[in-house]
Amino acid sequence: MNKHVVVIGGGVAGMEAAGQLMLSGCRVSLFEKDEKPGGHLNEWFKLFPDRRKSSEVKEYLDNITSGEGIKIITGKTIEKIVQNKNQFHVSDKDGSEYTADAVVVATGFDLFKSARKEEYGYGIYDNVISSADLEGMFRKGSISLADGRIPETIGIVHCVGSRDEKVGNLYCSKLCCATAVKQAIEIREHLPSAKVFCFYMDMRMGGALYEELYRESQEKYCINYIRGKVSEVSENITNKLVVKVEDTLAGRPLKMELDMLVLMAGMEMSEGGMKIAAASGLPTGENRFFSTADHHFGSNKSNIKGIFYAGTCTMPMNITETISHARAAVMDVIEYLKEGKE
């Protein structure tokens, strides 16, 4: 086919799309803003529901993008796409321009910045950490408090930056519940005597083997689930975190002392995606992710023929869904390139 496709974003969606495009005979330029591709996968230790190591998925993605037909350009932030007849001119923030026959936008998501939920004290209290911070601890093989001690009581707060009108995110990030259950289990595997409490609004375990994981976490790992939203966090004189939460099932307020609190940060449209959207005339929805051409039949298509979407730049999705979405994007790209561009 010898067509040139630019893929913006070197996370799971971008790498999968690039690999599949190459297999379909396209020349591909894959742009990644960081120094190495892989996106959030690089920060994660294990994945739900089977707790496969994230490095295995990364290895697969590295393999499919290692062919000669793919040029991976790292450390480049793409900011704008301009259409000129049948060509697309893609420019980075340094002003360099690249030409393509089609573009796949796979700019992914940013984790919600937990400090925005001021009442939880992220960035203020030493032992309030995010789900990503905990993954970092898993990768290092040790879970410890800021002063090096081993935590005995750990709380996990669901829906941080999701389903939250106050921060402007009405949507469910979909993955945080499963992440919380997975991380709770992993905490208990690392620290068998630790007590783990999950504070949730609803348990949204809608995925293959998710519900089973949730059941296992209770039966085998004795995770405590408290249905209620944490209202405030503070620190006492012994540096323990004092957490106020309502147990809505028991119908009473709780005040608990915990050693560590883990915030399940939600997913938001990436900052890079927002810039591209604004500069390139690509509309975003109420949830600020890219708006697709059709919710059912065109979830990979943008409002501009020749520009396609892949993965979590359109909505929160897990890795399995992201890979499927990226493959579907490739089908649309191939159809577009074969059928003519008008």
């Binding site: 001021e118 992220y122 960035g123 203020i124 209290y125 405030e232 503070s234 006492n236 004189i237 004092v242």
Partner: protein, 354 residues
């Protein structure tokens, strides 16, 4: 705790505070509770900082206490507030400075309501016109009086005679800052430092040499919460709230409490006496009570005002240990002297030092 985290939040919640020509409106209740505070504010602003502050003799309650007590409908409150704005307009001022936190909260709420629902503002204007024939302008700047003192905290520090430092140890005094609920909990962006980690008082304390204590129940209500106290049956809840705060701050051995609300110093001060009477408990270091101050009193003290001119004899929890701790020169015998006459009531209802 990471102070830089708090500073990052503080930097996001800085508000515009006018630097002169203030229309100042007093609180309904502060002159009874802590009668020297508003006078001290005016003295600091006019005599020390040389600012133009105007008071209108016909200013009335904003009706906020009735609004939050569920006895004054919001439209009535709005029309009363519109009348205050009319007086400001007639006097030629545009920078509105309420002394009361609940007033500040109510003014903020009303201005926000009018901003989002201009038809309500139009209706209130008509009501005011029909009732009084008055017109009004929206203030250019609305700031609580503690915002204004916060703005000039460095200037006050430069003129200060004392600092919030223990003269015997050279250590900063440990200060609990308690912010009135109506200051920024309803509209975080309208308070200096926001709602979760307000720095309006913390900024003063740090600038004047003290050290702020971050204790678990710092966000908790002082216990005034109108329906907790105004409804007699709820008063047990009021003192329970105060007690919860005292128990939470006690391990930090605070030297003093600073407040910016009419009710908070009243309840944190008086309930300490009541708890001491009921349970024999005190919450300060060495069995003392924790003296409770308004920010004007603290500013006045460090500027060298006479403690009795500031009205500290009206406190039920003894302030004199703190005065001695700072090294403030004062005459203990002049405590109840008014216009040359000793009015000592020899009060037995007084939380002694030990």
């Amino acid at each position: 705790m990471k102070l830089e985290g708090k500073r990052a939040i503080w930097s996001e919640y800085q508000k515009e505070i006018a630097d002169d020509k203030y229309f100042y409106v007093r609180s309904c209740i502060r002159q009874n509770f802590f009668p020297g505070s508003e006078v001290a504010f005016l003295r600091i602003m006019k005599d020390i900082l040389k600012k133009d502050v105007f008071e209108h003799p016909c200013h009335t309650t904003c009706s906020g206490i009735g609004y939050h007590g569920d006895v004054v409908p919001v439209e009535t409150a709005m029309t009363v507030v519109a009348r205050q704005f009319a007086m400001m307009t007639e006097a030629g001022y545009r920078n509105y400075v309420p002394s009361c936190i609940t007033s500040f909260g109510l003014y903020t709420e009303i201005l926000e309501t009018w901003h989002h629902f201009p038809e309500i503002e139009k209706k209130v204007r008509e009501q005011l016109r029909k009732a009084t024939g008055r017109e009004f302008e929206i203030p250019n700047n609305l700031a609580h009086a503690s915002d204004v003192i916060y703005k000039f905290r460095k200037e006050i520090s430069a003129k200060a005679k004392y600092r919030l430092i223990n003269k015997n140890t050279g250590e900063p005094l440990k200060v609990v800052d308690h912010i009135g609920c109506h200051y920024s909990k309803m509209f975080p962006s309208k308070g200096v430092g926001g709602a979760e980690y307000p720095c309006v008082l913390a900024g003063m304390v740090e600038e004047w040499g003290g050290q702020v204590i971050d204790y678990p129940e710092r966000r908790h209500c002082c216990g005034f919460g109108f329906r907790q106290y105004l409804v007699q049956a709820n008063r047990g809840f009021s003192i329970a709230c105060s007690k919860e705060k005292f128990e939470s701050m006690k391990p930090y051995k605070p030297d003093m409490i600073i407040t910016n609300c009419p009710g908070c110093p009243m309840f944190l001060d008086r309930w300490q006496y009541v708890i001491n009477e009921m349970e024999g408990k005190t919450y300060g270091a060495d069995g003392e009570g924790i003296p409770v101050f308004t920010y004007e009193e603290v500013a006045g003290l460090i500027l060298g005002f006479d403690p009795w001119d500031l009205g500290l004899q009206m406190h039920q929890t003894d302030c004199e240990p703190l005065l001695r701790k700072i090294g403030i020169e004062y005459d203990p015998e002049a405590k109840y002297v008014l216009n040359g006459v000793n009015t000592n009531i020899n009060a037995s209802t007084y939380l002694e030092v030990r």
